[in-house]
């Protein structure tokens, strides 16, 4: 069957095109127009002169970024924060799912699940506020316990060496339960006969977990790992912004927060855009390649 001409198709689908039009307009106005706004990173952009009146300066601001000593620090911080989150945050939900799977009491299992999803729904402001109060050196509960054991109180949020630990641990606290959902779903699809066969061969529960359950969810693990590696550099702005302060910039300042300070607070639009674009391109390459790999593996991909 020949496909009808574009004009005929347009006529046939006119209702759908009409439905889609506002959505298309939204994506153009709020996603694609800003993409063209990237040109200001090659200009001396000035709000009053506008796009037409601002001068072209080529790669000046990219040069400035690489000559800046801050650049290395914030790139390092962004990569390390993403890396640690992946390293510790990725296995946690898998372990939780395996442990949940071993619970014999279904009611208890459901209770644990329900409670463990809860922190996922708290806003970053609430989590950061809680951390600030719980970790406070004078009144926080954590330091009360530390002092009870006879150690001096620690100003957790004022000391740069603690930032990554606090960030990653609180991230795990928030996401471990929620992250286990997909693994638990994958576990339920494993054929019970496989366990039967393993038991016949004399495999205990540990052996069954190792040789039946884990291989059964291996595909899910690989896909989620690839997706998370792809999104590694997308360290959330909100949480870092809410938890950091000048005393912890050495470990806490990441691209997103730096761009915010330089761009929005100091008004260096062109410079901030250049930094953002540089990281955006690296992030894009990371997502693109990892997604290509996941397609190669014949499994799901992002699109």
């Amino acid at each position: 069957m020949n496909s009808p001409s574009i004009l005929k198709q347009l006529k046939r689908d006119r209702a759908f095109i009409l439905m889609f039009a506002p959505v298309l307009l939204y994506f153009i106005m709020f996603k694609y127009v800003p993409m063209f706004g990237i040109v200001i990173s090659f200009m001396d952009y000035n709000l009053f002169k506008g796009l037409g009146g601002s001068e072209w300066v080529g790669l000046k601001y990219y040069q400035q970024f690489f000559d800046n000593r801050d650049a290395l620090v914030i790139i390092k911080n962004t990569v390390l924060l993403g890396l640690y989150k992946l390293l510790f945050g990725f296995p946690a939900p898998i372990i939780l799912a395996l442990l949940l799977n071993e619970l014999r009491n279904a009611v208890y299992k459901r209770l644990v699940q329900t409670v463990s999803y809860l922190p996922h729904f708290l806003s970053n402001v609430v989590v950061a506020s809680m951390l600030l109060l719980l970790l406070s050196p004078s009144t926080g509960w954590v330091n009360r316990i530390i002092e009870w054991f006879g150690f001096p109180a620690i100003s957790f949020l004022q000391e740069a060496e603690w930032f990554r630990t606090i960030y990653v641990l609180s991230e795990i606290w928030q996401q471990v339960g929620w992250g286990s959902i997909l693994y638990l779903a994958a576990i339920t699809t494993i054929d019970p006969q496989l366990y039967e066969a393993a038991r016949m061969d004399g495999a205990g529960r540990w052996k069954q977990t190792l040789h039946v359950t884990l291989p059964g969810i291996a595909a899910t693990i690989v896909i989620l790992l690839i997706l998370q590696i792809g999104g590694m550099l997308e360290v959330g702005f909100e949480k870092v912004f809410l938890l950091y302060n000048p005393a912890t910039y050495d470990t806490a300042d990441v691209i997103a927060t730096y761009v915010y300070r330089v761009g929005i607070l100091q008004g260096s639009f062109s410079y901030a855009t250049a930094i953002d674009l540089f990281m955006g391109v690296i992030g894009f390459l990371l997502v693109y390649t990892t997604n290509k790999i996941s397609r190669r593996l014949g499994e799901n991909s992002l699109w």
Binding site: I17, M19, Y26, M29, L118, S129
Partner: protein, 292 residues
């Protein structure tokens, strides 16, 4: 040998139950601790004696919070943003997802590419800010609604769901003489209630929690949502005259109790509705994991 193994297995069961109980404690501890401090009398709080159970029972902190105008304004604003934003986002997501769920839509592939590309790359913070600014959205209600109107992820989840609806149902609508719009309204949407509910809840939670947009786009304090108010009071420490509770004849409220009360008041709605809507969220994750 067999006996040995089952003893070990039993030991593991006990350890596992215990471990999970510890995890529940870790998840719930902050809430219980906050509630205990917020409800205690001032003296034990200052002495650092309160952990999980309130020492005395005292609602001064909560009444101080509810008497603070900023918290009420924040609540009102957040409710407006959540209702308006969820409605608009859901509407636009449907309008985007339904046409794209049709296999032979003209330009369908191109539209899909356009949407997926925005998941990989964006103009970044500054160009987006400048664009939103140039549209005149700064310091308006719409700054909390329009810049994040449609999430490509949720749109794709919805599209996947629509694709699963049997074509025969739409065909039968056609035979009955329904237009494409009517088929969507009368046949597709009523069948899609679960996905609409789930995605609507995701949008609502996202807007409720949104701090970033308010930070970037809203300067006017009268428009600030609850999240900004919580941050100002708890993290920046702009307590104002809240510590002197006006409801109880000027008795002083401990700063700590007050801050915990603010956080709890800001979290309460989610804590209350959470047990009832939890399963819809989980369903959403499942639908999302089945790629079209």
């Amino acid at each position: 040998m067999v006996k040995n193994r089952s003893a070990l297995s039993l030991l593991f069961d006990y350890a596992n139950v215990l471990l999970m109980a510890l995890m529940i404690c870790a998840m719930l501890f902050p809430f219980l601790h906050m509630a205990a401090i917020a409800l205690s009398d001032p003296e034990p709080v200052i002495a650092g004696e309160v952990t999980l159970w309130p020492n005395g029972l005292n609602f001064d902190a909560f009444s101080a919070v509810f008497n603070d105008n900023r918290v009420l304004v924040g609540y009102k604003n957040t409710l407006i943003y959540v209702v308006l934003g969820t409605t608009c986002s859901l509407l636009f997501s449907i309008l985007g997802a339904y046409p794209l769920s049709r296999r032979n839509l003209v330009f369908g592939k191109t539209f899909m590419m356009l949407i997926v590309f925005t998941m990989l790359f964006s103009g970044g913070l500054i160009p987006t800010y400048l664009v939103v600014r140039s549209y005149g959205l700064l310091d308006t209600i719409w700054a909390m609604v329009i810049p994040g109107l449609v999430s490509p992820y949720y749109l794709i989840i919805m599209r996947t769901f629509f694709q699963g609806i049997p074509r025969e149902l739409e065909e039968s609508g056609k035979i009955d003489g329904l237009s494409d719009w009517m088929i969507m309204l009368r046949i597709v949407l009523p069948l899609s209630k679960p996905v609409l509910l789930t995605i609507g809840l995701f949008y609502a939670v996202g807007i409720w929690s949104n701090f970033f947009s308010a930070l970037i786009y809203l300067r006017n304090e009268d428009l600030h949502p609850l999240q900004v108010m919580i941050r100002n009071i708890v993290m920046i420490g702009q307590v104002g005259d809240m510590t002197v509770s006006n409801s109880v004849g000027g008795r002083t409220v401990v700063l700590e109790s007050l801050k915990y009360a603010v956080i709890l008041v800001g979290t309460l709605p989610i804590l209350i509705v959470y047990p009832f809507i939890q399963k819809h969220f989980v369903q959403g994750v499942m639908i999302g994991s089945v790629k079209g």
